[in-house]
Amino acid sequence: MDYETHEHDVLVIGAGGAGLRAAIEASAAGVSVGLVCKSLLGKAHTVMAEGGIAAALANVDRRDSWQVHFADTMRGGQYVNNWRMAQIHAQEAPDRVRELEAWGAVFDRTPDGRILQRNFGGHKFPRLAHVGDRTGLEMIRTLQDHGIHLGMSVYMECTIIRLLKDGDRVSGAFGYWRDRGRFVVFQAKAVVLATGGIGKAYKITSNSWEYTGDGHSLAYHAGAELIDMEFVQFHPTGMVWPPSVRGILVTEGVRGEGGCLRNSEGKRFMFDEIPESYKAQTADNEEEGFLYVLAEKYQGRDARRPPELLTRDHVARCIVREVKQGRGSPHGGVFLELDSFARWMKGRNPSFNAAEHWKKKLPSMYHQFKELGNVDITRQPMEVGPTTHYVMGGVRVDADTQMSCVPGLFACGECAAGINGANRLGGNSLSDLLVLGKRAGEFAAKYAKEHSAGQVHADQVEEAARWALSFIDEPQGDENPYKVQADLQETMQDLVGIVRREDEMLRALDIIGQLWERARKARAPINREYNPGWHTCMDLYNLLTVAEAITRSALERKESRGGQFRDDYPHKDTPRFGKVNGVVWKGPDGRMQFRWEPIPEMPAELKEIIREQNQGKLPEELM
């Protein structure tokens, strides 16, 4: 078998925010680092993030602190988060954001010249550092331009398809170059997975072709465990029209800046159902919600947030309800409009210029709707509906070091799990990438310094290469890989989507079984050069692995919590499911296994923080 070999102390798979931050940290620790990515550098999903980075800098509201951020994150995650990760994340995020500024990032400013922060769903105070609505671009470019001067080797358009092991530990990775289809082996003392999410398992998604759950699947097949896979985040606002852009994200920033959701009757339906645990912080009238956007007082106290800024799982379900009950927009969504806020502003200040205001606050949304939807958002309402956006579940790792149960294998960013629990708050991903990406890099470098290199075993390499080539070499098989992928997406969308039921999910499992068979027979033209058909054949293996993990976990959690909503169990069942995480791993017979794992008791001082932030209620009472 013909392949090239590269050796590094630390191999980072994925060059989004998490991978780049890990690679920067490991390089700074003086070890040799290789950074691999499927696309060109700077094109990872992180580039698309819009709204901002959550960090309790307290620049806009002095009362913010890591404690409040921690409590918000736990409440958003419905208390099944890894509390230690949530704590580290809240404590370290401000430093990670300031560090970006020191590396050249240019955030929007407050009047006194500091980093400006904006409101977002589930965050008590304005907390998201941002650059208009292109924060991810600023972040990835800053990391990239900083990282390339630190001596790391970057392997672009190179896809990893197997992790290599030496006994229990990881010893490297095997992949192919996109352009020529040649194979490559990376030998490494430590491997960091930072491959992002799984959105391509669904039909309607804000995610790109890259999001096929590679890191989840690589880790799973290498013996690591996945947790919380039932928790998939459906973002409430994706574009719904025209069909070709269905699913593309409409940032939560639109609502943070005063956007209102309305049904076909013109009603602001989000006022209809405000969950008990958020009542104390949610406005019950339009005026107060608008004042909140401006961070002003209402009847002598701080204005409370508009109901559009409730957590994403809740808003998405309210939209589904409106559409199901026949109050949707013409193309099966609801309306999101900026006009009410603009008119209210104009009432306060006759010189308020709506067109200019929105173009400045939401430039890329303006652009996106104008060019793709023929809609001028400064004058016309947008049509929006839920879209598959983010996966809370992922590789189970240690909170402090980000190492999985496979020695030498680390994971960070969206492909790792723990910090978000049942639902992620907007803005908490970008901060997670920085905080836990840095830690993954730091501890991977430490591991590499303390261990010698493991062996790369030729039989594993041969096996992986034979498998890869089977999709173009072997004559038997005639499945179109694109068709198999589309059928899987349809299945997950319809049967394991926002609203789930046991019978439907059992049907999904059946279909997934059949799709596994068809995926083996998928074939692409005999041609190794830049052949997307061939790549899709291989992606199916990962997509089916995560689809199965999501479905099995969702079946087991017989309750509704955060990203998981069960029609047949529409309420939370805290005694049974409030203190456990679902774990999936590959059994010795190659079949997927499932078990519940209790969440360790939260230390008293963290409980106290939650109590302080929730009108004297302890986590147990809030769950």
């Binding site: 696309s39 060109l40 550098l41 700077g42 094109k43 990872a44 999903h45 580039v47 698309m48 300031r98 500024e101 020191a102 590396w103 050249g104 240019v106 929007d108 400013r109 009047p111 006194d112 010249g113 500091r114 650059v131 292109r134 671009l137 470019r141 331009d145 900083h146 390339i148 001067h149 672009m156 352009d179 790109s208 072709w209 890259e210 025209p242 069909p243 070709s244 852009v245 593309i248 994200l249 890329s364 652009h367 996106q368 060019e371 793709l372 939807g373 023929n374 179109n480 694109y482 068709k483 589309a486 692409a524 033209p525 041609n527 050069e529 830049y530 052949n531 997307p532 058909g533 061939w534």
Partner: protein, 277 residues
């Protein structure tokens, strides 16, 4: 549903040719949708790059009916570029070495980027290690930082496209290197950064050869982010280079005090007054 003919460049380094495909065109569709449709139904190995499908990542650059465009942001009902009665010609960016079909080797751009020394901030303004900048101060470079690295401006610039000034050998003759519009505005984003005290004027003049730009503004016309590459970026940089290297007084100052002096004077400069609203 209407049908359209797509005339797509197929081939690799060994050569290629246009091939015609038919695609169904529905409401609101963009060129990239049709490329995907053709991939899924007729040509599974048709190579193209894309990621975001929303004009945010700069992956899907190509030449559509001869114009450098993002495929994901070119609607089929955009009469400025497309007439559905005629075949729609889609070909790779012609300035860069070809890999396959619509994919080109853009690695040269990453090499140029590496030549640019990184951001060098002045000492922090506040005791907690942070800086103060007003929105007005950062507005100017935020424009440059919108760049999504689609490299369409590089593809268009005649200095690169026609004169092949990429610092390598063409037909046995070594050509000078021109950094290209993308990297002019990247340098601008550093040079005009309110905190940066680095000095990249020598680099602009002698390495990236800003002098080779003759301000045709073709780059600005194709930029999908509508960055005023020439007016706001290249022209002010050219002025700085002229002031430094061709203004006799400035020249003398630098002869006597060197670049360090100017860096230090920048460092000691009091920050611009902060505006409050």
């Amino acid at each position: 549903m209407a049908q359209a003919t797509f005339r797509i460049w197929r081939g690799d380094q060994n050569g290629g040719a246009f091939r015609d495909y038919t695609a169904e065109v529905g409401e609101g569709m963009v060129v990239l949708d049709c490329i995907h449709q053709i991939q899924a139904t007729q040509a599974p190995d048709l190579a193209c790059r894309w990621n975001c499908k929303a004009g945010k990542c700069g992956s899907c650059s190509a030449e559509i009916n001869g114009r450098p465009r993002l495929m994901c942001m070119t609607r089929l009902d955009d009469r400025r570029f497309i007439d559905l009665r005629e075949p729609i010609i889609v070909e790779p960016m012609r300035t860069f070495p070809h890999i396959k079909d619509l994919v080109t080797d853009v690695s040269w751009n990453y090499k140029v980027n590496r030549m640019i020394p990184k951001f060098q901030p002045r000492k922090p303004d506040a005791a907690d290690g942070t800086w103060r900048m007003s929105q007005a101060e950062v507005d100017r470079i935020q424009e440059f930082r919108k760049c999504i690295e689609c490299f369409l401006c590089q593809d268009t610039c005649h200095v690169l496209r026609d004169h092949r000034m990429m610092g390598d050998t063409v037909d046995g003759e070594l050509r000078e290197l021109f950094g290209g519009p993308r990297f002019m505005i990247r340098v601008a984003s550093l040079e005009m950064h309110p905190l940066d005290i680095g000095d990249r004027l020598q680099l602009l003049k002698d390495t990236l050869n800003i002098g080779l730009c003759n301000i045709t503004k073709c780059c600005t016309e194709v930029c999908p982010e509508h960055i005023h590459i020439t007016d706001n970026g290249i022209i002010p940089l050219k002025e700085r280079v002229v002031d430094r290297f061709y203004d006799p007084l400035m020249w003398l100052w630098h002869r006597i005090f060197g670049d360090r002096a100017s860096r230090e004077s920048a460092q000691n400069r009091t920050p611009l007054p902060v505006v409050s609203s």
